[in-house]
């Protein structure tokens, strides 16, 4: 037992990701952790989306299944697993079977390089951001194959529209990403980096998150990426390809039960993946807020209490709602369930106050908190904006975001190299 604890502690003190250290066991552990965390996040997103959308539309959302609908995602998952698996006749069986897997693979593989902390990534490729963009572009293939394999009109049109939209907004995304990567090269050697951990460390070294750098260029680049990433994942207001009033359900019309849940899983994982890119490139990754303004050891200490405090706040909300539950005997189980959930959250919060845990969990917490903020924004967009028509969508991608992206790129390069340009102008 002591040997195991010592092994764990000796590993946690290292300063390399498992991939860089070539440590297969820990790489596997990290992969499992990321996989489980991602699945829990997708399940939570299901519940959060329905509740938040409902509250934005002045209604309550799921309230029956568990206390305040907390067990609704589990009920949904059970339903999807037990549904009949339909395959249209005349459909190409092999492609029909492969397409969901391609999309899920593409959506999950990108998490290999997502940096939750300076050593908390599965591996740190030195082409990290390129790898993420490339693998997420493979999901377009899966969508096209899915739409074609269904052998029916609505999925085919939906798939072609969806993939055209994704390919168009990938260009704008790429330009915004390039202008952020340019900012990483403003260091002593003048060499930038494409690795995700390197980009956050560049923000740490330059002492400013790239969204605030060269104001307003960082902000415009972030804005372009924020719009393009919503279009890339086919979410509102760019969800014409899967809008129910337009195309029944787009490319996943003919998929039922478990296959549909794979598409659903892939969509939410892709949302989390592109949000991670945005957080890493512009919002400082795992860095705590206000690195300059409130710097120093005491502020570090103060900010390190945030993870525990946030869980205690959630637990307090659970207890408050427990008290507000109707006093009817039929609600007794729900009340007990909610109180139990609150106790679990409080325990997690208390565990996060232990100094040894507090120091290590900080990076993961700030990264996850920022990505959660993006998820809230996604749901907010869905509840607020009307849908774009398809030609308006394509026009915006090519005629608005692409020139903006090019302009931001040129301006960022100019402003970044301004000392050099100044020197060569004054002393030719």
């Amino acid at each position: 037992m002591g040997a195991i604890v010592q092994y764990i502690q000796s590993y946690l003190a290292s300063d390399k990701t498992p991939g860089a250290a070539g440590n297969m066991f820990w790489a596997f552990v990290y992969i499992m952790l990321v996989f489980v965390g991602l699945s829990v996040a997708v399940i939570a997103m299901n519940w959060l989306e329905r509740k938040i959308l409902a509250h934005m539309q002045v209604r309550l959302g799921p309230m029956r299944v568990g206390p305040h609908g907390l067990l609704q995602p589990i009920a949904d998952a059970l339903k999807l697993l037990l549904k009949e698996d339909i395959m249209p006749s005349e459909a190409d069986a092999l492609i029909f079977w492969i397409a969901p897997f391609v999309v899920v693979l593409a959506a999950f593989t990108v998490f290999v390089v997502v940096p939750f902390g300076p050593t908390h990534a599965i591996t740190d490729m030195n082409i990290g951001i390129l790898f993420m963009l490339g693998v997420s572009s493979l999901s377009v293939l899966g969508i096209v194959l899915a739409g074609w394999a269904s052998n029916s009109h609505y999925p085919l049109i939906g798939a072609l529209r969806s993939s055209a939209q994704m390919v168009s907004y990938e260009v704008a995304m790429g330009l915004a990403v390039v202008s952020a990567v340019l900012m990483t090269s403003l260091n002593a050697t003048g060499t930038g980096t494409l690795s995700m951990i390197g980009i956050v460390q560049a923000q740490q070294a330059q002492g400013v998150w790239f969204i605030f750098k060269f104001f307003p260029l960082g902000l415009i680049a972030f804005f372009i990426f924020a719009v393009a990433m919503v279009a890339e994942t086919n979410r509102a207001p760019f969800d014409l390809a899967e809008a129910e009033s337009e195309l029944t359900a787009g490319f996943h019309t003919e998929y039922s039960g478990f296959r549909w849940s794979l598409f659903f899983l892939a969509e939410y994982s892709a949302m989390i993946a592109v949000s991670s890119i945005a957080v890493t490139l512009w919002l400082g990754g795992w860095l705590r807020p206000f690195p300059n303004l409130l710097s120093g050891a005491t502020w570090d200490q103060a900010f390190s209490f945030f993870p525990g405090l946030s869980f205690l706040f959630l637990a307090a909300m659970c207890f408050y709602n427990t008290v507000r539950m109707p006093k009817h005997p039929l609600f007794r189980i729900q009340t007990i369930g909610l109180a139990g959930f609150g106790v679990v959250l409080a325990l997690i919060g208390l565990v996060l106050f232990i100094p040894a845990v507090r120091v290590r969990v900080q990076d993961i917490f700030w990264f996850s908190a920022k990505v959660a903020g993006f998820m809230y924004l996604y749901i907010w967009y869905r509840g607020t904006f009307p849908r774009y028509r398809f030609d308006q969508l394509m026009q915006m991608g090519w005629k608005v975001l692409l020139p903006m992206g090019l302009g931001v790129l040129i301006l960022t390069a100019t402003v970044g190299l301004w000392p050099l340009i100044q020197n060569s102008l004054w002393h030719p």
Binding site: I127, G134, S137, L141, V144, W148, V167, T191
Partner: protein
């Protein structure tokens, strides 16, 4: 990669051929990785597998599938095919055996960390002219496609 290549040309259904081509291109990317060129591998995935193959699939879907599946696969040119393949194989063997000294014994392990930097330095430094000419070529292709596809004003 070999299996993917063989599947591309032997499948009756063009969509299956396209999927096999995607597998082949991904295998190509992994070959680049084995040659310590991660940047080229990443760009290969983005452009080829994620861009060009999507366009291939678009076009394949516009062509009537039923006709192309029912077309009889013919190989009545197999004599000429075997002669040509043998000649090409002989050429490869001759090149390899004569020029074996030029190839290094084993893959030299360059620092794969600078693949991006090295490609960028060469592309924007030494081969800048070729880079500009290639982009001009792509521009001409785009303008040609737009002109051919636009409606009459």
């Amino acid at each position: 990669m070999l299996i993917g290549g063989i599947l591309v040309i032997t499948r009756r259904n063009p969509v299956h051929s396209a999927v096999a081509l995607i597998v082949t291109l991904l295998a190509q990317a992994s070959i680049y990785l084995m040659l310590y060129a991660p940047f080229v591998a990443g760009v290969q995935i983005i452009l080829y597998a994620g861009g060009i193959m999507v366009l291939f699939l678009f076009v394949i879907m516009l062509v009537s599938i039923d006709r192309s599946i029912r077309e009889r696969q013919f190989n009545s040119q197999w004599v000429v095919g075997i002669i040509a393949a043998t000649a090409l194989g002989g050429l490869f063997i001759a090149v390899y055996s004569k020029g074996k000294d030029i190839f290094p014994d084993r893959a030299f392990s360059v620092a794969e960390g600078d693949n991006t930097q090295k490609v960028a330095t060469m592309l924007y430094g030494q081969y800048m002219f070729a880079f500009e000419i290639a982009s001009l070529l792509l521009l001409v292709a785009i303008i040609g496609a737009v002109v051919m596809a636009k409606k009459r004003i």
